[in-house]
């Protein structure tokens, strides 16, 4: 993953960059599988490695394939990146170890989901019952976000087709 990330930053050919970001997503999916988060891995592989790559390629076809060369080293951005990275690293020291049973996340609502979801929801896959039932409102929000994204794309760059369509409609109405 580190190799893919470094290659992503260094490469100037955007086609290769898109390919590497796909590889990065796929590796992240593998990592999720290793951590037993199969549902997340599935989403990452389908959305991150699949659809995102295709959409990026579509964007590349609209623009150019090479990024502009810039050799200027910006000190301020380097400082921002370094400080943020260091802060994040420092924050990870406070996090409970992976798989630790005393971690707060295992003591809030998780035991209830694990113990009662079979009786309350009746789904063998707890992830589904949490996503769709206990956290149904969140998922509704997520779907709304995706809907809004598609509508936004249509409104912003789907204009030409829109006009053709409305013309066709007006023709039909006239006939």
């Amino acid at each position: 993953m580190a190799v893919a990330a470094i290659a992503l930053v260094r490469l100037r050919n955007l086609f290769a960059v898109v390919m590497f970001s796909g590889i990065y997503s796929l590796l992240a999916a593998v990592l999720y599988v290793v951590m037993d988060a199969v549902d997340v891995a599935f989403t990452e592989a389908a959305v991150g490695a699949g659809i995102a790559t295709v959409l990026m390629l579509g964007t590349l076809a609209l623009t150019t394939e090479k990024s502009e060369q810039s050799h200027k080293l910006s000190l301020s951005s380097l400082a921002v990146v370094t400080i943020t990275g260091a802060a994040l690293m420092y924050a990870t020291l406070d996090m409970p170890r992976y798989g630790e049973t005393t971690a707060p996340i295992h003591h809030h609502v998780a035991p209830r989901y694990i113990e009662k979801s079979k009786k309350e929801v009746g789904m063998p896959n707890i992830v589904t019952s949490v996503l769709a039932s206990y956290r149904g409102f969140d998922t509704l929000g997520e779907v709304t976000v995706i809907f809004t994204a598609a509508v936004g794309v249509m409104a912003l760059i789907g204009r030409r087709r829109e006009k053709k369509k409305s013309r066709k409609k007006s023709k039909k109405a006239a006939a």
Binding site: V38, D39, A41, F42, T43, A46, V47, G50, I51, V54, L55, L57, G58, T59, A61, L62, T64, E65, K66, K119, E120, V121, G122, M123, P124, N125, V127, T128, S129, L131, A132, S133, G136, F137, T139, L140, E142, V143, T144, I146, F147, A149, A150, V151, V153, M154, I157, G158, R160, R161, K165
Partner: protein, 154 residues
Amino acid sequence: MAKKVVRKRPEPPRREMEHTSILRVTSKLLIPMILLFALYVQFHGDFGPGGGFQAGVIFASAFILYAMLFGMSAARKVVPAWVTRIGLATGLLLYAGVGVVGMFKGGNYLNYSVLAHDPVHGQHIGITLIEFGVGTTVCFAMITIFFVYANRNS
């Protein structure tokens, strides 16, 4: 149009792909499999990994593959613009509508237990319906975004 910036590659890759017969034949074999797998992921999400989001993306990827290999006009014939638009809204409305039905049946918004006499059965119905809604919206959202991008290109 003539003022457009000259691209490094004279033609977008989609044009070249239209002539590769191996890809076309393989994709013809693959597309039904992808669709079937998407349906499996959609309706097997209660038991194994998967659900509406993943299924929607996989279902859409089949159409995107078709559009890449056979061109936009052929793909547009399969999924016309009005279908994607109606589908996009239907999924979200189905999801929200299940919540409203739950409200009418005397529960809270998005409480599926009241949908049937048995709460667990109600949950099952509710989750299946909203997962289907999620899948529909995600699928058509992906198709819409890709088609709009590709249309812009041609």
